[in-house]
Structures are given as C-alpha cells and as structure tokens.
C-alpha cells in the first residue's frame, strides 16, 4: 500500500513525469487517428440518412462528443486542481493549466456546431436551448480560468487561485445546468432537442461513441504535449532540464 503511494508521488514530480508523458504522447495520437478515421467513416458512409433531419443531423457526430468532452475536461481539470490544493503537488496545477485551453476549444466547438445544427433545424443560428446556454456559460468559465491564471505572475499563486476557481466552478456547473434547464422549460423552449435528434439508431450511437473516443484521445495527446511545454517553462532553471537531450543538442 505504502509502496503504491510512493510510486504515485514519484510520477507526480514534473521531472519524472516529463519523459513518461513524452513516451505516451505518440500512442495517444495514433489512437486518436484510428478512432477519428473510423468515426468519420461511420458518420459519413455507414450511418443512414435521417428521415426528419436529412443529412444535417450528421453534425451531431462532432457536436455531442465536443459537448461531452467540454464538460468532462472541466471535471478532470477541477480534480487535478483539487489534488494540487490537497497534496501540494506541483504537477497537478500544471495539468489543470494544460487542460483549460483544450476544454475551452471543446466548449467553443460544441457552441459552433450547435449553431450550425440549429440554423437549418430551428431556422436560427442561436436558440436559447438549455444545452447551448449551459455550454455558453461553461465556455465563459473556461475563459475566466484562463484569464485568471494569465493575470497572476507567480506560478504557484496562479495554480492555487485557479484551483479554487475550478472547484467553485465545478460545484456551480450542475447548479447552472439545472437552473438553465428550469428556466428553459418555463419559457417553453425549442421542442426539438439537439441530443435526442433522431430516434437514436445503433449505428449512430456507435459513431458518436467512437468519435467521442477520438476526441478524448486527441485531448489527452494535446494536453500532455502542452504540459510538457509548461514543465519546461516553469523548471527552466533546474539542472535536470538543462541536462535534457533536446536542450543539449
């Protein structure tokens, strides 16, 4: 038991995590490519045309994974942040910082694709649908997190302040989602919801799941690449960074 904890802490130091991440990144890119190609193939060539929404529904093959990932990344980010506060490990804050831009991009994609789906289906680029509205607020939360960290010069303070904001955010996200949904039903929002678009056929579900896996692998690969850059930036003055082969050449 104690052995496991020691091992875990060993990988929690930036110095030992840096090479491990470097080894893992190519594999996640390969997985992302495999799932991505399969997912695209299913979404365009296997999944049949929808009876009511025609070909337009194919947008959900990226909309839903982007929406899922934007929420999932926020929770993962808050978890890292919480770990950082509780255990005072340096890597946790760097991970949270590395995840935020990818999460923001996912939130943006879910908004963008939502709008491009909404235009033909609802006849408007933007509808105050409960999901789109919560996605918009989630996007603001990401931007706030990134802006707060950018405004603080001291890296340790930035990590800790960001961690508190992420934790406050993660408590609020369900409340926001619930309140927006409540607000939406009271005002009798759109009757077609973007997620239960067509009667979910099995092939569509598979396509969505595989695309979600592709997004997931992509996010891990990008976040790990970014965390490696952050480690180099923050540990620039340490000996081990100066001894790295990519620095020495």
């Amino acid at each position: 038991m104690s052995n496991k904890i020691v091992n875990w802490f060993k990988y929690a130091s930036p110095q030992s995590f840096y090479p491990v991440a470097g080894k893992m990144i190519p594999w996640f890119w390969v997985l992302a490519a495999i799932f991505g190609v399969t997912g695209l193939w299913i979404s365009f060539f296997v999944a049949p045309t929808d009876a009511t929404q025609g070909e337009g529904y194919r947008i959900i093959f990226i909309h839903v994974p982007a929406a899922w990932m934007s929420m999932f990344i926020y929770v993962v980010m808050a978890t890292w942040a919480g770990l950082g506060l509780a255990l005072n490990t340096r890597l946790s804050g760097m991970m949270a910082q590395a995840l935020a831009p990818t999460g923001a991009i996912m939130a943006f994609l879910s908004l963008w694709t939502g709008a491009f789906w909404g235009k033909p289906m609802w006849g408007a680029w933007w509808v105050w649908d409960a999901r789109l509205t919560s996605a918009l607020i989630l996007f603001f939360l990401y931007i706030g997190f990134i802006a707060l960290q950018a405004a603080i010069d001291d890296a340790r303070r930035a990590d800790k302040a960001g961690a508190i904001l992420a934790l406050v955010g993660v408590v609020n996200v369900p409340i926001i989602y619930f309140s927006v949904k409540w607000w939406n039903t009271l005002h009798q929002g759109a009757s077609v919801s973007i997620n239960k678009a067509p009667a979910m056929a099995t092939t569509m579900l598979w396509g969505m799941l595989i695309m979600a896996l592709a997004f997931w692998m992509y996010s891990i690969a990008v976040a790990l690449t970014r965390v490696r850059a952050i480690i180099l930036e923050r540990e620039a003055h340490t000996e081990w960074v100066k001894e790295l082969s990519e620095v020495k050449q």
Binding site: G144, A151, L165, V168, W182
Partner: protein, 221 residues
C-alpha cells in the same frame, strides 16, 4: 464572536465616512433601470413583462461595482494581515465583511426596488415577490462576489477580470430571482423559485466564506 461584530461595525462606519461609494452604486442602479424604458418604449404591458429581468440584471451589475474594493483597501493598508493573525478564525471575519458588504450595497437595492418597480407598472403582489427575491438573492451576490474579489486581489486589470469570473456564476441567482417575479405575474406561483433561491443562499453561505478565505490566504502568501 465579538471580533466579527467589530468587523461589521468597522466596515459600516467606513461606508458612512465614504458615503460616495455606497451612493454611486445606488444611483447606478436607478439610472440603469430608468434607461430601459427609454430604449425600449413606454408600452406598459411590455415593461411589466421585462421589469423583473431588468431590475435583477441592474441589481447584479450594481453589486459588481463595489466588489473590487471589498478587500483592496484592507489589503493595501495591512488590515488584512492583522485579520489573518487575529485569534478569531479568518473565515468568521470574512463572513462579517461579506455581511457588511451586503448591508451597504444589497440592502439599499432591496429597499429601493419597489420604488423602481412603480416605473414598470408592477402591482403590489409582484412588488412583494420582487422584494423577497432580492432579499434572498442579493446576499448570494455578495457571497459569490467575495470569492471573485479575493481571487483577483492585487492583480492588474482586476476589476474587469472580476466581472469575467463572477458574472457566469451569478446565472442561477438571476434565473431564480427574476423567475420568481415572472412566475408570480404569469400566475404559476413564485414558491418554487423562492425556495430554490433560499437553498442556494444556504449553500453559498456555507461554502463561499470558506472559498474566499482560502483565496485570500493564497493572495497574501
């Protein structure tokens, strides 16, 4: 406990000595609310419909005005350090400061709202619900805002950053607060909204001082 009351008394005393800050927020509230009919048109039915939303959004923005100065003066003159070093737990003192902030910004808005409601032709029942919703909601605005004020303490561009952090977190309060009045006007009853608002207030009252304290300790380290 006496230290908590001392903090509240001190902040109220300071607010009395610098009346302009309190009055600015109050007049901001009045002016913003009065601008809407000018922009939209004087039709009473329309105004009645948008009144809850406008009054609530204006209250939210007016609360934001003073937030950046919630901890900044205490930080600048070293009082915050003394609060950290006080034998009384910092969380309690912070709760006291948040209470004082509400008394100086939230409470005046609650008292003023019915007067402005007249401009929007709200009947007395809707006025009552408006006051109750603000009474439950404005403390929540101070509580959530305090977290943002603590996080952005001493940062460049702190004021703008503060609104970026805090406004998204205000969404549930806005929805339930304005929704309560709207629900009353449309005849569905405001009970559900108000009890949810009260539940949020309990949750915020429990967590916000704690998160604010943690954020302040980080800012002071």
């Amino acid at each position: 406990m006496s230290a908590v009351f001392a903090i509240i008394r001190r902040d109220l005393l300071l607010a009395m000595r610098r009346k302009s800050e309190v009055l600015t927020a109050l007049f901001f509230f009045i002016i913003v609310v009065s601008l809407f009919p000018l922009g939209i048109g004087p039709e009473p039915a329309l105004l009645r419909k948008i009144a809850p939303g406008i009054l609530w959004v204006a209250a939210l923005l007016a609360t934001m005005l003073g937030l950046a100065r919630l901890f900044a003066p205490d930080h600048a003159d070293g009082t915050l350090e003394q609060m950290v070093l006080s034998p009384t737990p910092l969380g309690l003192l912070i709760a006291g400061k948040i209470a004082a902030h509400w008394i100086t910004t939230g409470l005046p808005l609650v008292l003023l709202a019915p007067v402005l409601g007249i401009q929007f032709d709200l009947d007395s029942g809707a006025q009552g619900i408006l006051v109750v919703s603000l009474l439950l909601g404005t403390p929540l605005l101070s509580l959530i805002g305090a977290i943002g004020a603590a996080l952005t303490l001493g940062l460049r561009g702190g004021g703008v950053l503060l609104s970026l952090l805090v406004l998204p977190l205000y969404v549930p309060t806005l929805i339930f607060g304005a929704g309560a009045v709207e629900a009353y006007i449309s005849g569905t009853g405001a009970g559900g909204h108000l009890s949810l608002l009260a539940a949020l207030l309990v949750l915020g009252g429990f967590f916000a001082p704690w998160a604010t304290t943690a954020a302040l300790r980080i800012a002071l380290e």
